[in-house]
Amino acid sequence: MKNKLQMILAALIVAVMVLTACQPKPAEKVTITIGVTDQIASLDSADAYATHDWELLKNIGEGLLVWKPGSASELIPGIAQDMPTVSEDGLTYTFKLKPGIKFADGLELTAPMYAQQLNRLLTIGPSCPNDVADALAIPYVESITAPDDSTLVFKLKVPIAYFPQILASAPYLPSHPDKFPVDQCVLFPEAPIYGVGPWYISQYTQNEQLVLEPNPYYQGIRKPQVDQIIIRYFSDPQTMALAVQNGEIDIAWRFLDPELIDQLRGVEGLTVGDIEGGFIRYLIINHTMPPMDDPNVVKAFASLIDRDAIVDTVYKGAATLLYSMNPPGFLGATDAFDTMYKAPDVAAANAYLAASGYDENNKCAIELWYPPDHYGAATAAWVELIKQQLEAANFKVELKAQEWSTYVTALTGGESYQVGVLGWFYDYPDPSNYLDPFVYNGGMGTNVTVPAEGSPYGQPINEKAQQLVDLLAQADVETDLDARTELYRQAQDVYADLVVTLPIIILSEHITYRSNIHGSPEYGSVETLNIATNLEFNYSMLTKTP
């Protein structure tokens, strides 16, 4: 009996081995596997509002305007024949579509079809779960029409200086009418999912992997160079780092912790590309909660933050100092906080505190909150440094950690903490997206304005806040570049004087890849696989050598 069992087992093993050897291998396709720790939240362009979702949508789609690969500053026509014709009042943008634009299943895109799809954004968009429409469409767009088969007309509610940048964002991509009906948000349509961009999604399994294959009808400049891209989803950055070392993935993309990046730099056969990204970290200050409602206290706070120490100690140099919420390289960016406070300046901080009655025997007690589970392990390290920096003067700081879901609820739900850590990445690369949200309508917990019925900006809490709102509101509609730059310069000075929020650092993004993966020498930096500071990752730029 026992011998029989052993024989059956042996026969089974031999059979499996023989069958494995005889099985024809799947056709050899040049495949690049990219690891990420993000998850897909939505594949409907009328809904999606997460960085990774946008990355996928922009690779399967192409908008009227696109960012030139490898550039964060040059907008070029995508499926539009040319840049738009803008009416004199700045309210009407007219585009002509290139002829022969097709989805990956061969369906030709016409202007009426495109207009109908874009109108989904205005009609059903606000009812979709991630509600990108209320941020990037409803406040700006009055109507979208198609007078003929190749012309598309956008009518705006008010002139918006940065509307072309908004148009280059994912919500304005054409989506396939069969998968995305006009009356319904479809966050996870069944694959295949076709767009008019260089790729289409041929299959995907949530949290596991997503497969992209080339759109055979694509005519633009982002032509795919390989047969297949696989996005592989990881829950743990450490495992993703091991997988790229082991060759199970070709590229480890967002996010790896600074310590892991440091380790991977020393691994033979791997390259780490550093991208000066637009991800910023800042402290949000509640201006209506004592003692942060005292201008002297917030100025003292701003006078003490030694950003150099944070970058050197915690990020080992892999981050950039941030002295304005409007990051370097953006229109009108200044070093307002550096100019104004020259931090760290303990004497100046103590002078500010003394003016409000605080001294060595009566220290200013504050609570500094942070979410240890949301912005990576480095956050705990740098808030500890900030505590030490503040306590060098007459502050007494208590660090308080809270998990993200509780933290963000309190922060945005009106019971905000005195000071808390937050991060930000733009929806569209324009200073307005780095300044307006922190000022208008409560400013996401800064409370320098109070939300007011019928006002798009809210009611400012003091004269300086009023001045800031006025400057930002003017800059939003100013179409003259020099005048707009000047408005943002002034606004940043007022912002720093008020210490609406406290900018700390810009985090560099990192891309780690194996030695047989290459970017395109035609566009931007090969070292970063053509990813520019806007973090747009065009998979079409990638090639793979054996």
Binding site: Q23, T33, V211, S235, D236, N246, T409
Partner: protein, 365 residues
Amino acid sequence: MKPISFILLILGVPLALMLLYVFLKGSMGLRKYILTRIALTLPMVFILASLVFFIMRVLPGDPVRSALGPRGTAEQAEHMRQALGLDKPLLVQYGIFLKDMVTFNFGNSMVGGHRPIIDEMSERFPATLELIIPSSIVALVIGIWGGTWAAARRKTIVDYSLRLYSVIIYSLPIFWFGLMLQLLFGIRFKLLPVAGRIDPVIRTTLQPVTNLYMIDSILSGNWPALASALSHLVLPTITLGLVLSGVFVRITRINVIETLQADYIAAARARGIRERVVVYGHALKNAMIPVITLIGLQVAILLAGAVLTETIFNWPGMGGYLVQRISARDYTAVQSVIAMFALLVALISLLVDLIYSLLDPRVRY
């Protein structure tokens, strides 16, 4: 048919048949016992799910704010709250929850893509099953064989070594042990993959039916997929299986030692039966009752261990899903997963009781 329904069918039909067989063939006492256990399982799952329902809502944090992040406006939050039914009074929400539970309607996830929970479970549960079944086999084979071997060679170097092994392996943190195996067999020797369930390129050639990749690859005759799924299974299975084997070594050893001192073992030896047959044929079988009890108890620990193993090896199973959804305060997902786990533990516990009666006719209910 959803993969999870398919799996429940595969697991449920044999269990139901076995239950029927034991019910029909068993004594009146056993029948009463089975009926009582089934009757108790349902309120147990109900009470647990209700507890989770209220605890999740008592905890600070909000799925809406968590999903919207700091950019979310009060209007957006209110809109989402209405869409998710969170604006209704708590007791109304509870009533809806009970109705859904009775009709096996798990509802939709509250965060991320708001997908049906049944779809998310269909993807995740098979992965966990594919991990815990081989891990249990590894734990049992090593645990029972090692424990018996140690008992048979009591107070020898083999016994001391295996006792030491059981203590060390049980006290090893899973995440550290898994990482060491990854570094050794993945990075150092390049022998085995360190992440995922299958090679991503081969995965594109596999058409999932059950989402149990080994079964699917066999069903479709995709042998490279089978080889890839097996190779990906090795490290996570060894990690979880070895860590759990320690307790089985100890419990088996103690029980086999006790059994070896029984009179009937002395009688068997006196009849000249080979020691191997005495130990493995007579003593082990009679020492198995406490081991089987432990198997039932270990299911919950196995699921907890799977959470860490899944994270380390990027195994997209239920454990990682539960942790992720607790953080996001995804009420519906957490309630559904806990109810599912409770049902699983209750069923295995029932199964263990039935096995008692088959193994040992002296067991009476």
